[in-house]
């Protein structure tokens, strides 16, 4: 029954979170907090999505930017070709992301370790090159996007995007939480610890990895879709920037990959720091801090913030983790 109770707590917190985000858009006039908040929410989703494959299954995906960029350009294409509304752009991007996840998974998930990682970078660069050579969506120089008017309850488009992201955060986290607790998560964990042993005991490893890759990819592309409207601009070099890959990976690893709360913690810590650094110093310094923290955590605190917390708790002598 504790499980059911914990389940309802999760949904109550989630509902409160979305309600608070929506309420804030009516209470706060200034657009800037939502401009910054959007980025933070975006990274929570990316880190959570990364963790589904990278954390649970232990496949280090460097291709976050491939999925993200493809999401951006699905939205750009649909908007330019048909003027489709935001929701349609997001749904289409989710579908395209899932499809790419499936194809990438089929091609690369039989590879182990570093080969998979390098293959995902390869996919990123190849897709980026196709977009660069595709004149309809602006080619290498990018494309200007003119935001339509915001939909009724909202007085600005940015605020609408912010609430939309809040809802997407809930969907992403709920999915990660569901996977972690279900047989999918247990299977992924088994193959992460020892793929051969898992395969031998009848865990359908390839099927599970594909499922994780599809869900993870769909979420990453879904986050990409509103980005074109957020920036009112899209270009291949920034949509497919490897910084998205390193950020998602760093946030999940720094937070801790074993539990769905880890990527949220990591993303909050890093993206809030990044927002402050970008505003006060420069965006280069913010990437530097991200990289240094990634290296430091990977070397010094392998289980991330979650691991540090757990260790601190056992040292104080509280209840050990069930």
């Amino acid at each position: 029954m504790a499980g059911a109770q914990r389940g309802s707590t999760f949904w109550i917190v989630a509902a409160l979170f979305v309600a608070a985000a929506a309420a804030a858009t009516f209470l706060i006039k200034n657009e800037y907090p939502f401009f910054a908040g959007y980025v933070i929410l975006q990274f929570i989703i990316l880190a959570t999505a990364w963790n589904i494959l990278g954390g649970y299954a232990g496949y280090v995906n460097f291709g976050t930017s491939a999925f993200f960029g493809l999401g951006v350009y699905t939205a750009v294409f649909l908007f330019k070709a048909t003027g489709a509304p935001l929701l349609v752009q997001i749904i289409a991007a989710t579908g395209v992301g899932a499809l790419l996840g499936f194809l990438v998974g089929l091609l690369t998930l039989r590879m182990r370790g570093i080969f998979f990682s390098i293959a995902t970078i390869a996919v990123t660069i190849i897709i980026e090159t196709f977009i660069i050579n595709w004149k309809f969506v602006g080619g290498a120089s990018g494309i200007q996007m003119i935001r339509p008017a915001a939909m009724p309850p909202f007085d600005s488009y940015i605020k609408m995007l912010f609430v939309n992201s809040a809802v997407m955060v809930v969907i992403a986290v709920a999915l990660a939480r569901f996977i972690q607790g279900s047989w999918i998560g247990r299977g992924l964990q088994a193959l992460r610890d020892d793929e051969m042993a898992a395969e031998c005991t009848g865990v359908p490893t390839l099927k599970l990895k594909l499922t994780a890759c599809v869900i993870s990819g769909a979420l990453m592309s879904a986050v990409g879709a509103p980005n074109a409207m957020y920036l009112s601009y899209a270009d291949p070099a920034s949509a497919f920037n490897l910084n998205y890959s390193v950020s998602a990976l760093a946030m999940a690893l720094i937070g801790g990959t074993a539990h769905w709360i880890g990527p949220i913690l990591g993303a909050l810590l890093l993206s809030v720091t990044q927002q402050l650094l970008t505003v006060t110093i420069s965006s280069e310094v913010n990437v530097l801090v991200l990289g240094l923290m990634l290296v430091l955590f990977v070397v010094g605190a392998p289980e991330g913030i979650l691991g540090l917390y757990r260790r601190a708790r056992t040292r104080i002598g509280g209840k050990s983790q069930p």
Binding site: V60, M111, I114, F115, F130, V246, L253, L292, V295, V298
Partner: protein, 290 residues
């Protein structure tokens, strides 16, 4: 549009560039191919060496000499890097895969940003007598800088191959790649040999970085392109095969050069990555795989 002479030009240039690719990849062939270290930061080290060459060249030193001066520095750098990697990941064993990869990815980004913070994002070039000149062979015009890089690259690759095949330490390095346990049983210390090998692999990058900035202007994010090129060469070669590295690098160089001639520069960055994916999908053990 298409002519035989154009194609011949492309092939010759591709051959020269291919040998240069062998020189920038041969270190990875040792560190990743033989030692199984997921060295994603290899291209970042390469770009770092190119910037080192740039700084020395500003003082009036010839880029090749500058590259040679960098090799001992990079040797020590490599030994320290391997020590850190070994102590934190290989020795602890568990979960080394995920975090080891993330570690090198993080290191690559840190190097890239540090270069941006010091030098800015502008392209940098070096000055030397042979840069900017070219020689004509028949109708073909070959830039001198490519020829210099070609000769140095071929020498470097050849020497390293000989070192691994003929010397005692070289053979020990190959032995540690084949069977670490056996080496341990014979009383040798595999970690010391691996550390030495990683030092050599990194030292070679000093000179390779000099070649990089001789062949073309360098900017801080160039390492991203070279992730594709170096890993494509090493995987296509078959992990740890030195002859394979040279052959694979020439194949890549010629393929890139032909695509560049026929379809234009905007498609070139994808070639190495596409070939890498194709090799991984069709023949993951590479051309000369063990």
């Amino acid at each position: 549009m298409f002519s035989f002479e154009l194609l011949l030009d492309a092939i010759v240039l591709g051959l020269l560039v291919g040998c240069f690719y062998a020189a920038v990849s041969i270190g990875l062939s040792v560190s990743f191919g033989l030692l199984d270290v997921p060295h994603v930061a290899h291209p970042a080290f390469l770009v770092l060496a190119a910037y080192g060459t740039y700084v020395l060249n500003q003082l009036g030193i010839d880029p090749i000499i500058a590259g040679l001066m960098l090799t001992p520095v990079f040797f020590v750098f490599g030994i320290l890097a391997y020590r850190l990697y070994y102590e934190t990941f290989e020795r602890r064993g568990s979960d080394a895969g995920v975090r080891g990869i993330a570690f090198f990815f993080g290191v690559a980004f840190v190097i890239e940003v540090v270069i941006i913070l010091i030098f800015g994002v502008d392209q940098r070039t070096v000055q030397a007598l042979y840069i900017g000149k070219s020689i004509d062979i028949g109708d073909m015009r070959i830039p001198m800088r490519l020829l210099v890089a070609f000769v140095v690259a071929l020498t470097l690759t050849g020497l390293l191959t000989l070192y691994l095949a003929r010397t005692f330490t070289g053979r020990a390095i190959r032995a540690v790649a084949q069977d670490e346990m056996a080496l341990r049983l014979m009383g040798a210390n595999p970690v010391a040999i691996k550390q030495w090998a990683f030092g050599i692999a990194t030292a070679v990058l000093g000179l390779a970085g000099a070649l990089l900035i001789i062949v073309s202007p360098v900017d801080p994010t160039l390492d991203r392109t070279y992730i594709g090129r170096t890993f494509c060469v090493v995987v296509m070669a078959g992990l740890g095969s030195m002859t394979g590295t040279l052959v694979a690098a020439i194949i890549l160089g010629v393929a890139e050069s032909i695509v560049l001639t026929l379809y234009g520069a905007s498609w070139a960055p994808a070639i190495s990555f596409a070939m890498l994916l194709a090799v991984l999908a069709v023949r993951p053990q590479g051309l000369f795989g063990r």
